[in-house]
Symmetry: C2
Subunit: 156 residues, 2 copies
Amino acid sequence: MSETRWLGDDEQRAWRTYLRMQTRLAAALNRQLQTDSGMSLADYEVLVHLTDAPDGRLRPYELQRALEWEQSRLSHHLSRMQRRGLVERQDCPGDRRGAFVALTPAGREAITAAAPGHVETVRTLFFDALTPEQVDTLGQLAAQVLTRLDPASPAE
Amino acid sequence: MSETRWLGDDEQRAWRTYLRMQTRLAAALNRQLQTDSGMSLADYEVLVHLTDAPDGRLRPYELQRALEWEQSRLSHHLSRMQRRGLVERQDCPGDRRGAFVALTPAGREAITAAAPGHVETVRTLFFDALTPEQVDTLGQLAAQVLTRLDPASPAE
DNA sequence: TTGAAATAGATGACGCATCATGTATGTTGG
DNA sequence: CCAACATACATGATGCGTCATCTATTTCAA
């Protein structure tokens, strides 16, 4: 077993700062969505994907891959969203194992109402704080880390 | 009410990539700690702070501020860690409302055993993918976002 | 064609995070 | 001094995320 390559001071500081930003930013975005629109960031993402789909509906397995969620997470989450009337489950004629998840009118209204505020918050809290060069570097850097996390997947 | 300032394509892409990296990196770090050391990242952070404290113990309210956690989150979390024998609660002579949380020997062993693998994973998955300039930009950028999130706190 | 394997999805258990609330003790202004 | 307020901490309820497991159906190879 080789020596641990500990982090240097600069790395420590950058890492800690990144972690803090990540935690706080996520919390702020969730809080905004929750208080202004009564939904979580997870709800938001589900609704966005459904909105982009033809007829506002998708097979759960498609949604799962788009979101990169675990299957059971999605299933549980859809159950909760269904209970709140944001989506509904429909039979799938072509594959009797499967199903469709579809936006309800209420779900469509909810995402329509939520989107502007959410995007505005992302812009205000994040992009407005950064230069275009920083945004560019971040995108590039994140892609590199993604490649390292999973060399197979295209990091975008 | 003014027009929504939607995100441009570049911004969309950078934002999505950042979100993906964030999610996957956190998942990978949690997985590594969980499988190699049987603890979560949250456990790890609690143990690190206790290790750095004199006598390996702190008042819960100090720990809370250091971690920037909600009070009840910490309380619940300490209960679970106590149940697993990683920490113990002690009376606080000076303030009878209060308490101390202290590392147990098992807790100390756990963090000592977990740290090298965790740091190595952070280095491998994150720092090894980046140039020093990128690390620098990230730290700077994160500090700016933190300032925007909370102008009062020193973003460090 | 049929049995094995893969796929689609649901579910229960359990740890985690937050919110609302409760209790005890300390602090302070009148 | 003491009533009001603030602080330290715990707890119960509920939504969320993961793991293990289950069922039903489809696919595929011998």
